[in-house]
Amino acid sequence: MGVQIAFWLFAILVAGTALYAAVAPKIVHAAFSLMATFFGVAGIYAILGSDFLAVTQVLVYVGGIMVLIVFGVLLTDRVPEEYKVVAPRRWLPALIAGGLCFAAIAGALKSTVWPISSSTPLGDATSTVEGIGRSLLTDYLIPFEFASILLLVVLVGAARLARGQVR
């Protein structure tokens, strides 16, 4: 019962703050609303028993990506008209796109029978850290190494891009 209450609290937090981040008139409000969304998703991971991912979500999203986004907002927010970020004429196509997307996914979920053996989660909710660590260094070693190369390339590329024109 407690898990259920926690799920609904986090689900309402995620849905509400995500919706506000989508429609907030000021982009900086959207950015901080998105931070609450990230915390809510971390809570959902915790409910699902993924302790490692919940911590990683807070570290990477709230600690890293949010800082990047807020910096981006602060560095580009010199134009006052840009505060009005929601264009009125875009409401109809945006609502149609979002609504169709949700209807399609929800319809597919309703009609799909997943090949899972039980209606309750398998295994007990022990810590996933050991399993993830083993997977990363055995079955997923090549993707893991590619990920490090990608991060290096991104580090160099982002620094080069953000530096702008070099005389």
């Binding site: 950015a31 699902l48 990047l68 986004i69 981006g72 796109a97 399993g131 993830i132």
Partner: protein, 102 residues
Amino acid sequence: MNGLSLNHFLILGALLFSVGVLCVTLRRNAIGVLIGIEMMLNAANVNLVAFSRWHGHVDGAVYAIFVIMLAAAEAAVALAIVLNVFHHSASVSTDDYTEMKG
């Protein structure tokens, strides 16, 4: 997981993804579009972790880690590009990025 089915989490993921689509199509600000993309990546992660839990092994969680890694890389590069274009055209509105038309 008393009373919670897999579909609870999948519907939450679908909702978050649709709000991300709404955000991407609604926003004129390039950073707003980026916010929507982050929402969609998070929605995919919710689904991956839910399936991982219901199948009883960690593969889904490992995929989710790679998605988080990609999201961080994407955010860094996208913001660098936005800052660069902002220096170029003094605007973050996606409507003003018309010079890239072929």
